[in-house]
Amino acid sequence: MRVRMLAAAAVAVLTVAGTAACGGSADDSGAVTLRLGFYAAAGDPADTTMRELVKEFTAANPSIKVQLEVAPYVKFFEKLRTQIAGGQAPQVWLSDGVLVQEFAARGALADLSDRVKTVNAADYSGIELNRDAKGRVYGFPQGAQTPVLFYNKKLFADAKVAEPTADWTYDDLAAAAKKLTTDTNGDGKPDTYGFRAYSPGFTESWWPIIKAFGGDIVTDDNRKVVVDSSQSKAALDWMLGAMGKDGFAPDYAFTEGLGKGVVHTLFATGRVAMSYGIYARTLPATSAGVDFGVAPLPKGPAGRGNVAIVNSWVVNKSASAAQADAAWKWITFFSGEGPQRKWAELGEAIPINKKVAAAALSADRHAFLDSLDAATDLGVNAVWSEYTEALAKRMGEALSGASPVDTALATGQKEAQEVIDRFYAGQPQ
């Protein structure tokens, strides 16, 4: 009797678990439930807009029911990793562009290569930046970020300095930055710096500068670290000069002391007259009422060093065929002109629909589009988070003066390469 009761209970538990596991698949009526994950802070305008777009989508596709799973960035990815481990990840989610290959290389994502062939790739930015070494595409662009040179028009006018042009070189940048650096209260410390050179967010700091000086970070399908070069040293020396003897940029300790996220407000609060910034930095500057312009990154000995991150929609490899189809429907819906226009109103990312981007960005913001066209990816690979962290630590040592540049570059290269080799050594070629 007891055994039978236990068996019945086990069957009941398994039935419930099975039902839960099957939740979201297409039922007999063809209806499908799609769990859609994305990151946004609670109450953030992006959250509101996303919910409105989901409503539009489900109204146009009544057979698809969407369950939103939203969390702030860090929490979202923390939870996502455990959801993946437990086989409970959403069927479609918004991934930070630099993480797409990390998830893909571990078999968590569906290959979208064939689906991408069904759209006109020329209509969208960033598809190529998502292609891996074998030509596969695991993410479809959602929004793009690329750094350009932000400058404060009022500070330029006050200092009677000519505004940046597309012909500017790093020497021009340094010359203007020196003139823009001012100590109004005479305490021996600048109140306004000409330029913000160092940032913990290296996309807006040492990465494009090293590339502009002719160095590189990773090559050979982003598997070979090559940062230890004379060109990289020249780039870091230029930055150290800016923060040290030339004194036109706040130093490492000052910038780090501002705390997470605050570094990005340096430009918005007028503490620096120029700064490299991705498109999302237009929001705080606009909110603060700064009259600013954007110009292409200055030219270094090897060009501008443009880089880009393309945040992308990805589809869970475990999604059923019906869910994967519904997910792709959502992706193509979001990439369409209407939703893209609505998303562009937030002003937090460059629309990936080229037609919408051209219309949404005023002519004086087209530096973003030119930069995006010329950009390479940010060295993305299966261990991007880990190898860039190893590298960033050593760059921090060099830029804070804690370690000689030569030593930091050599050690950083060695440690980053070890991370990459450890992963790819166990992978089929």
């Binding site: 923390e78 780090e256 002391g257 804690a402």
Partner: protein
């Protein structure tokens, strides 16, 4: 009460089921009553512990099935410079934090172990940081240690001393973190010491006074032995807490500047939850567990020499 004797008793005894069977029903009930705790123990303690032991011997990226690799993760750890660096950081943090907090908590407890008006208010004031979250504490710490606007540098400036980059200086970051951790945690340990102090019989002090013992001697020969049990508890708790320290560095420095404050648990967290290396993270967790266990055992062994349970 009926007592069965003779043949009737023998027959009855023969008919009675064996003790094992007689108590079977009671055992079922006992297990049923204990089941919430047993379930909790198995599901939330024993099972995860065994699972992590298994994962520590696998290459597990959270997505694919774990691949058994024997002791490779442990071998990697012993060659991982970053692991040793984080262990060194943790040891340095512990060496600064544990004695400072213990001594300060005892000093505060003695100071506040007075029958004066408003003393409860002072005790509560020291306890407030204990119940504050690390996020709040981080904001308070920023108000003190911010290189540009913090009070600490204003004080240095007042005395004509150069400003410091407290949390941005690799040489100062751990001492600064230890100072903040003491500020946050000292109130709790102080309460434990207060309880210990109040358990010391007043007559001992009175007798010592009559015998002419100085204040120092009363502290040395009555107070210290009297709170030695509490001191032992505080040392064990604080040591374990230090070796498991995570939230503070996660919120305040994220391991920076360039890894100077990366403690072992933060390293473990990154390996497991950011870098998809749950096997390696589990191995680190087990090594840390063994270290905590060893340290606690040493403390328990040594306590026989100096702890007085009176």
């Amino acid at each position: 009460m009926t007592v069965l004797t003779g043949r009737a008793g023998k027959v009855a005894a023969e008919r009675r089921p064996p003790a094992r069977k007689r108590h079977a029903g009671e055992r079922v009930w006992a297990v049923a009553f204990a089941s919430p705790y047993l379930l909790h123990l198995v599901a939330l303690a024993a099972w995860p512990l065994l699972a992590s032991l298994f994962f520590s011997m696998t290459d597990y990226d959270l997505v694919s099935s774990p691949k058994f690799v024997g002791f490779d993760n442990f071998a990697r750890m012993f060659n991982d410079g970053l692991f040793w660096r984080t262990l060194g950081n943790t040891a340095y943090f512990a060496v600064l934090f544990v004695p400072t907090q213990t001594v300060l908590a005892l000093a505060l407890a003695i100071a506040l172990n007075q029958r004066l008006r408003g003393m409860a208010l002072f005790r509560a004031a020291y306890f407030v940081p204990v119940v504050s979250s690390w996020v709040v504490v981080a904001y308070v710490a920023d108000a003190v240690f911010n290189p540009q606007t913090g009070i600490a540098n204003q004080v240095l400036d007042f005395f004509g001393l150069p400003a410091e980059n407290w949390l941005q200086d690799p040489a100062l970051v751990i001492p600064t973190l230890a100072a903040v951790a003491v500020w946050k945690g000292v109130g709790y340990m102080m309460v434990l010491f207060l309880a210990g102090l109040q358990a010391i019989p007043e007559e001992r002090y009175e007798a010592a006074k009559i015998d002419g013992a100085s204040a120092w001697n009363r502290f040395r020969y009555i107070t210290l032995p009297g709170v030695s049990g509490t001191t032992f508890l505080v040392l064990v708790l604080t040591s374990i807490e230090t070796l498991q320290s995570f939230e503070q560095v996660f919120v305040m420095t994220d391991g920076g500047p360039h890894g100077a404050s990366e403690l072992t648990v933060l390293h473990l967290y990154r390996q497991g939850f950011q870098f998809f290396q749950m096997g390696y993270a589990s191995a680190i967790a087990w090594v840390l567990f063994v270290l905590v266990l060893a340290l606690t055992m040493v403390q328990f062994r040594l306590q026989r020499r100096w702890v007085h349970y009176a």
